[in-house]
Subunit: 386 residues, 2 copies
């Protein structure tokens, strides 16, 4: 087993009707709050209004319009407000994108230069504002992890920023807030949770405990996503997806295991740095092709284990079960309404070469993946996904 | 799904050769350290000496002789040292008993009255010293939870003390330190981990995600314990057991589920309040009898799920698989060397009536257990275990 650290300092407040606890959670942190959010959905649903009414004892500021693939320009705007208005607390309301942007604002608020510097070099992060969030989408797991992903359109870069100071202080996870999420984003969120799990599950050395945790995550998403899509108000399905999402990126799934290269995320980040597609959709399209690229006699037993423990496949032929498990994965994404080709979401092969060149600069080397992926391998996966 | 909170603030430093990081972890917390430990094993192994040498920049005090079922008298001694010597940090070295005692010392240090008051009424806990620990036994999970168990021999009470301030600040979990644990305590520790899992798994409402987490815990312990007993220096087996132990009591396994009455712990605590037996051994003896008491047509599907997912049992007859799963559990405990009867460890039926009377005073009512257990039920389980 590999040595590891585990540190999960975020206080999770999970369940219905928990927002009455928000003021008492915020109170010890200060009085000046910057509320960050995306588009109009939390205005339309009345959530923003409800939150603001409950916080009448605080001084509130707002940053709206945070993008689905959040941009460094929004981070800059937020950091400027924090400095000017002497913000004590960031309150993110929305999905993972809002929260990711807010994490970069949290450290940007204490940094004199451009917040993009902190994305490029996290050793420059020395302090961060406390973050509390109200999560409205089961997907990224940003509510329980120390990372975020920021896009710089000037340089076509989409990069992760990870630092222990960026874990939210508290996350309010109310599954009923996710009941209004449309089928497309429910499916994309499910694919995101599954991809987080795959990235940590398919590594050189696993262990029986966290293999089991990963398999439980996958069974949960596979069982609950079709229910949530068919019956959006099904609280139980929404709750299980939201609970699973929180464990996707918090390191619980990778403890004691080989470091993962997160190859599907590396490739998808390149795609959505050039094309503004939904992250989870990109992941779902790439994943089966990455799996097929990675299947060989050495890796087949792990894919077969996945088939047996997640898809309940039976039989003695390891390679047959491995292939069937990959096919089931592709079929599942199709069944929940995700297109199977990058061309279906407007991606062309125009920037594929650039993307393949770019990965080693933005990401840990994919030579450390479950099966090493060189430049040609990236191009092969991209072309097969087209 | 039930609402829940999850808060896991302890920093886990897991793996070999991590103790060089201890001074830098302790430094921000202060300079005056009370080292707490039990018998002579950490002296004999040289661990205490190694730790003390690495902490030559700190002022060190010691409290030794903490008992396997730690007593309130040790807590009183420790709290007195903390007050007199203005201790900044508690450093517990040992198994769960040492750590449990240390947790009670941590809050006792800031309390003017008798620390037993805090066990009886945790609302009196307002502050606690930071605790760092070096765990030497895979069992209680105290290194990653907010609770401890203390025995008061004057009143024959063994009670849990649980408070968010009692989570360790940091836990050093080096599996190689558990390689010297003899077979008896390895087996008892394994039974403890399994019992923690059973207590949270067998409840009225589970959910697919944490059912899967629990099943992964059980498979891990069942697979790794015989390896660790046969080959005590097997690092991988020791590591998997130690990793599993940390998740047994930290609330990860019970999120979103019905509250558990922890019936086996309630009964075992009564037994070891009267007889100084090894906690995990008492649990292993009681567990199959509690399972048989709890098996009926309503609960059989859950026991069968346990049989299928943990013991790989197959077949269509739910009740047959449920019974087989319970028999396998009993057989497993026997195979790892644990006696199957309370009388084998010196327990008689002398205090059974008192124990049955006592549970409702010390514990949440067992009427909330998976299958409700009244006074007669407790007596039945005790007699069947004799």
């Amino acid at each position: 087993m590999h040595n590891f650290n585990l540190y999960l300092p975020t206080k999770l407040f999970f369940g219905q009707n928990r927002l009455s606890e928000l003021p008492q959670v915020l109170k010890p942190l200060g009085s000046r709050i910057l509320i960050t959010y995306g588009g109009g959905s939390i205005i339309k649903s009345g959530l923003l209004d409800t939150v603001k009414k409950s916080l009448r004892d605080f001084t509130l500021f707002e940053l709206s319009g945070i993008e689905p693939n959040p941009r460094i320009t929004s981070v800059r705007d937020g950091a400027a407000i924090c400095k000017k208005e002497k913000i004590d607390i960031l309150l993110a309301i929305g999905g993972g994108s809002v929260l990711d942007c807010t994490k970069n604002i949290a450290c940007g608020a204490y940094y004199d230069g451009d917040p993009w510097d902190l994305v490029l070099d996290t050793s420059k992060i020395t302090r961060a504002l406390p973050i509390v969030d109200i999560i409205t989408l089961a997907a990224t797991g940003s509510e329980y992890d120390a990372g975020g992903v920021i896009t710089n359109l000037e340089t076509n870069e989409k990069r992760a920023i990870i630092h222990s100071l960026l874990s939210p202080y508290a996350s309010f996870c109310d599954p009923s807030l996710t009941q209004s999420v449309p089928a497309w984003h429910t499916a994309a969120g499910a694919a995101d949770i599954m991809s987080h799990t795959f990235e940590q599950y398919f590594v050189k050395d696993g262990n029986i405990l966290t293999d089991g945790f990963c398999e439980a995550m996958l069974r949960t998403v596979i069982q609950m996503t079709p229910v949530a899509i068919k019956d959006p108000n099904n609280y139980e399905a929404r709750a299980q997806l939201l609970m699973a999402s929180s464990f996707g990126c918090c390191n619980l799934l990778c403890i004691g295991r080989s470091a993962s290269a997160w190859p599907c995320h590396a490739i998808e980040h390149e795609i959505s740095a050039f094309h503004d597609i939904t992250h989870g959709v990109g992941l779902a399209i790439i994943t089966p092709h990455w799996m097929r690229y990675s299947l060989n006699t050495e890796t087949a037993p792990k894919f077969a284990q996945y088939g047996r423990n997640v898809w309940n496949l039976t039989g003695d032929d390891t390679m047959v079960i491995a292939r069937e498990a990959i096919d089931r994965t592709a079929q599942f994404f199709t069944e929940i309404g995700i297109p199977s080709k990058l061309s279906d979401v407007g991606v062309t092969d125009k920037h594929f070469e650039e993307m393949a060149d770019h990965i080693p600069q933005c990401w840990s080397p994919l030579t450390d993946a479950f099966v090493p992926i060189d430049r040609n391998g990236v191009l092969e996966i991209l072309k097969n996904s087209l």
